[in-house]
């Protein structure tokens, strides 16, 4: 009973860390509300290290994700004839953190629901970065999905790698 309570508190703490870090990544990126790409960056920051190991297991450098996001924007603009130089000439300024209640893109709500729905399954280890990677890798559309594709990552492969990494970490902790 106490064990379960402790696990739930740990999970809530991890969610809070994730949300705060995602907002920081979004603000630094000039966006007020974090999207899935910012939550993926936040997952890579988590001290459990499983998100980074999931990328490595799938054959990609986790540090390449941020630049893949930028490349994905540049490619999308180039596709309609806006040269990368022209887009890069517009200064990208960080925004101040929003005050008031926490706000994120709609897709983040569905990420949170997915993470909550899978709580039972991760009984041993609690919420890990790899769980977040697995949930985001399953999304087929949007900036995060396009950035992952730019890294040459197959989404199914990344999802499998993330779940394997989460299992390995759970086994080690149990």
């Amino acid at each position: 009973m106490l064990q379960m309570l402790k696990r739930r508190i740990d999970e809530m703490r991890t969610i809070k860390t994730l949300c705060t870090a995602a907002e920081r990544h979004a603000n630094a990126d000039g966006a007020r509300e974090p999207g899935l790409e910012h939550f993926l960056l936040a997952a890579l920051d988590l001290p459990d290290g499983t998100a980074r190991r999931a990328f490595a297991r799938a054959g990609a450098d986790p540090d390449g994700f941020r630049s893949a996001v930028a490349r994905q924007y540049a490619d999308a603009l180039a596709g309609i004839g806006i040269a990368p130089d022209a887009a890069a000439a517009v200064p990208s300024m960080p925004v101040a953190p929003a005050s008031g209640p926490y706000r994120a893109k709609t897709q983040v709500e569905s990420l949170m629901r997915t993470l909550a729905a899978r709580e039972e399954k991760r009984a041993g280890a609690g919420l890990l970065g790899a769980h977040v990677v697995a949930a985001i890798a399953a999304e087929r559309h949007g900036v995060a999905a396009r950035a992952l594709a730019r890294m040459g990552l197959d989404e199914d492969a990344l999802e499998r790698a993330a779940l394997a990494e989460a299992d390995a970490a759970a086994g080690a902790r149990a």
Binding site: G30, A31, R32, Q72, Y73, A74, A76, L77, G79, I80, G81, I82, A87, V90, P91, S92, M93, P94, V95, A96, A98, S99, H141, G142, V143, R146
Partner: protein
């Protein structure tokens, strides 16, 4: 000139929309920051953007971290 992505490629077209909105936001913030720095009032900025003064201030004032101090 803008080359419209072909309609049979909705993924590319929608990604372009997202990237354009982001670029427009960046351009708006940079331009408004410059205008305020040069002494424009929020009313003038709002007129130039075609929005109400309240809307311009609410949407942009908090995203311009340095303008208040300068």
């Amino acid at each position: 000139m803008i080359d419209l992505p072909s309609p049979d490629q909705p993924e590319e077209a929608l990604a372009a929309v997202v990237a354009l909105r982001r670029l427009a936001d960046q351009l708006e913030r940079a331009a408004v920051a410059n205008a305020i720095r040069q002494g424009w009032t929020w009313a003038q900025v709002a007129d130039a953007l075609g929005v109400s003064r309240q809307a311009a201030h609410k949407r942009l004032a908090s995203t311009l971290p340095d303008t208040d101090q300068e």
